[in-house]
Amino acid sequence: MERKVHVQTTINGEAAEFLCEPRQSLLECLREILSLTGTKEGCNDGNCGACTVTMDGRIVTSCLVLGVEAQGSEITTIEGVARGNELHPLQKAFLEEAALQCGICTPGFIVAAKTLLDQEPHPTEERIRWWLANNLCRCTGYDKIVKAVQKAAAEVNQ
């Protein structure tokens, strides 16, 4: 077994550290070492978006980031989206608009959509579709997901 590396990072606003093998992806580290299993694996090659997290404010597919690359960075996962007991407007909108069926892609969509709303408070439908095109959902046909993001945008802007 390869020697493990000590990684110090910030996850969902709190200091975190872990030991990982150099070959382990950030996705593996989050799920297997830190038990943050809200981030999902759908393909492990960057094509489905289920493992979307943010790294220093940027969207990344965590399966394509090595755990050791998290050193010194700030990571946000689905577990960090709600404020304590209060759901984020996106999470509420996903529930109200029935924007999930099986729910496996939902964490990735919410993390990705939150990054959009953080940067652009008034995205058009086209812009939302463009932004979320790296996140695959096989259940919904995206209609209700796009509507949920529109609804959350309206609420965030109130």
Binding site: K40, G42, D45, E79, Q101, C105, R138, C139, G141
Partner: protein
């Protein structure tokens, strides 16, 4: 409908919602256990090969490896025939698909499993297993495999013809015929006959969560399984059967499931993980890679179809004939039966003959995919119907209306329809804003199509216990893939006169609820909802007895309406009475166990507007409406969601998706980059029109909504492309190169 409901038809927040938007919901791969080992599967690199030798010694010697398993570790299946809910099947086929024995029958066929202390070590060890293969020629399509002299997959497979076993060894497992009237005579009465041939590619369900299984073969001999599956009892029974154990020696705990669409009915990993657990004495988790999912799990059949329809000048169909050859993959069981049932199911045609062929080929063993078999068939029929409409100068919706199946219509496979909503779906298309709107641009065309799926019944179980605060706990066995906890809870709430939120539904393990069939066949809201209805009725009977006791009257005097019990001028709410069940006799538990008949088939229609780029052949969906008779929409938002999801899978099937196979039987696009499923950017909003023709066979009129919506899109889109680009396409997918070749050939 005059029936007024309090809960049914509303849109409550789903009960598992908070868990699923916060990442707390635990799916199959999320399970963590003390001492957990990780597994990997070695798969065949050849589409057809004799396995001469397997040497696992190097893998076993790798540090961190705790167990290796091959087919030799599974009990012999002998000649046993088993019925695990999908018809009688030789156990050797089910076992053989889990771990190859003797021959590898497709690229991706599982050869061996490894358990190790980490995923990386397990994968490394799988690579160290040495397998000596004798590569054999392969047959990859139904027409190829049916040819004389084709490579034979199973030397013991004797063709069944019209129900009789013939002595002939071939790749055709079954040739059957459905027949009503006299097609030959019917065609003689026709003024116009259109006959066309169609090819459809193998496509995958494309669920985002890969298959997974975690198994602990415990020290007491019980085998505990955690998995994401469409049917925990199906997993239990199949795993027990392969391991030659009594069924209840296996306990299956269903985890949340990340999509299935039919593909998570079969068992792939559980028996392998079980053997690895037994050998290592530790729990073993195996999660498929995406490539494993494409190469090793059941996609839906590719097919070759010929459809012939005869019509009179006024549009009346006089006869229809279908020839459906579906690729089963490595083992018999292509969904050609349902395809043949559905191919002309939307029409009232007096003379019909349908021939179906179940053909084994060197591709992964196929599994169900949302209305399995029907989409391929409807693509053919709807394209031919459109051509007839054009040739006769009749509006395509009017032509369909003229021939639409209705109550009393006899389907080619035998049954007569009870009350169905085919006509209502067509009328809804005609009356829709979309159908009457202008196309709005050049190179655009509008197509329509309709389709049918018969839906399933199957057993379901449910118990409801009453809490002192007036809420109830509902326990059921249907794994929830798309909000069925809520659609089931709502039916109980309606009976109990409480809110959906006052029902706490749980999907539990196979030790904790009565037998429940798979979440499939659009049956869950229908059948498990019915079980909940029965359980709620049982609760109400007992609640009335308690009220009668308090009021010193007879239970038959107690009335219940809208959550209020009353008798002789006395009243109590459900909650008030619930608070007093302790003093009136103790806990109240209601039970419902059903195996419903009364299944109501569902008709679905599509209006598709496309724009075809004449220079690249790329087809863009500009506007899209899905129309479906659902009987009764329990939770309309999730009904719309099913219609939208099925539509988009149908769009992907129509335009992009295919197993792109090379001559050696290797899938060349086994990633989600290259197997291109629709993204947000490919689509407009998907409009929905819910039609409600109540199913007389269900207490609330439910038909089931999951499947019929995927059936019409490819045909409707083909018809739209014809109007946009002037080319009739008869091959799926209708990708840019196919469109361009047709335009150039014009």
């Amino acid at each position: 409908m005059s029936t007024q409901y309090n809960v049914i038809g509303t849109r409550p927040i789903r009960h598992d919602g908070a868990d699923k938007v916060t990442g707390r919901a635990l799916y199959g791969a999320d399970i963590q256990l003390a001492g957990l080992l990780h597994g990997a599967i070695l798969r065949s690199p050849h589409a057809h090969a004799r396995i001469k030798r397997i040497d696992t010694s190097k893998a076993e010697a790798l540090a961190g490896v705790k167990a290796v398993a091959t087919a030799a570790d599974l009990p012999e299946s002998g000649e046993k025939i088993v019925d695990l809910g999908e018809g009688a099947t030789p156990l050797s086929y089910i076992r053989g698909n889990v771990l190859a024995s003797g021959k590898a029958l497709y690229r991706g066929h599982a050869i061996a499993g490894v358990a190790a202390t980490s995923q990386h070590i397990a994968e490394e060890a799988a690579g160290l297993i040495e397998v000596e293969y004798e590569v054999l020629p392969c047959a990859l399509t139904a027409p190829d495999a049916m040819r004389d002299g084709a490579p034979i997959l199973h030397e013991d497979l004797h063709t069944k013809e019209f129900g009789e076993t013939t002595g002939k060894v071939s790749n055709v497992a079954d040739h059957f015929r459905f027949q009503i009237g006299n097609a030959e005579q019917g065609f003689e009465e026709a003024d116009l006959i259109v006959e066309r041939e169609f090819h459809t590619a193998t496509v995958h369900q494309g669920y985002i969560e890969p298959q997974n299984a975690t198994v602990l073969w415990n020290n007491d001999g019980r085998v505990q399984v955690w998995t994401s599956t469409q049917g925990s009892f199906a997993v239990r029974d199949t795993t027990a059967c392969i391991l030659d154990l009594p069924v209840a020696q296996v306990k299956v705990t269903p985890m949340e499931i990340g999509g299935g669409f039919g593909g998570k009915i079969p068992v792939y990993l559980e028996p392998v993980a079980a053997v690895l657990s037994k050998k290592s004495g530790r729990p073993v988790k195996i999660v498929m890679s995406r490539k494993d999912v494409f190469e090793g799990t059941g996609p839906t059949p590719g097919s070759f179809i010929r459809v012939k329809i005869g019509a009179k000048r006024d549009g009346t169909f006089t006869a229809a004939q279908g020839y459906l050859a579906y690729e089963a993959g490595a083992y018999p069981g292509a969904m050609v039966g349902p395809g043949a049932m559905c191919v002309f199911a939307a029409y009232d045609i007096p003379n019909v003959t349908v021939d179906g062929f179940d053909v084994v080929v060197n591709k992964p063993s196929t599994a169900a995919y949302r209305a399995p078999g029907a989409t391929n068939a409807a693509f053919a029929t709807e394209t031919v119907v459109d051509e007839i409409a054009e040739k006769l100068g009749i509006d395509p919706v009017d032509l369909r209306l003229k021939n639409a199946a209705k109550e009393g219509t006899k389907r080619a496979d035998g049954p007569k329809y009870r009350r169905i909503g085919c006509v209502e779906v067509l009328e809804a298309i005609k009356a829709s804003a979309h159908y009457n709107a202008p196309l709005g641009g050049p190179n655009r065309g509008r197509g329509v199509g309709i389709g049918f799926w018969f839906n399933a019944g199957l057993p379901s179980s449910c118990t409801i216990s009453v809490n002192a605060d007036g809420s109830v706990n509902l326990v059921e066995g249907s794994t929830d893939i798309g909000g069925t906890r809520t659609s089931i809870a709502m039916q109980a709430a309606e009976v109990l006169g409480i809110t959906a939120e006052q029902v706490h539904p749980s999907v539990v393990d196979t030790d904790s609820v009565g037998f429940t069939g798979v979440t499939g066949g659009s049956r869950t809201t229908f059948a498990t909802g019915w079980a909940a209805y029965e359980a709620a009725q049982d609760v109400m009977r007992q609640m009335k007895e308690r009220a009668a006791k308090l009021w010193e009257t007879d239970a038959s005097e107690v009335k219940a309406e809208g959550g209020v019990f009353s008798a002789n001028g006395k009243r109590m709410t459900f909650a008030e009475l619930a608070a007093r069940i302790g003093e009136t006799g103790g806990p109240i538990v209601g039970r419902g166990a059903v195996n419903p008949r009364g299944v109501g088939g569902s008709f679905s229609g599509v209006i598709a507007d496309v724009e075809v780029d004449p220079e690249t052949g790329k087809t863009q969906i500009v506007r899209f409406t899905s129309i479906q008779d659902v009987g009764k929409a329990i939770h309309p938002a999730y009904v719309e969601g099913q219609m939208q999801g099925g539509s988009v899978q149908g769009i992907g099937w129509a335009l992009n998706e295919e197993y792109y196979m090379d001559e050696s039987g290797t899938m060349r696009n086994s990633s989600l980059l290259d197997y291109r499923m629709p993204t947000t950017l490919d689509l407009p909003m998907i409009e929905t029109i819910i039609v409600e023709v109540p199913n007389p066979g269900h207490p609330f009129g439910v038909r089931g909504v999951g499947e019929a919506n995927i059936v019409p899109p490819p045909g409707a889109i083909a018809n739209a492309i014809y109007r946009a680009a002037g080319v009739r396409l008869r091959t799926l997918p209708m990708k840019p190169s196919t469109v361009m070749e047709a335009i150039w050939a014009k």
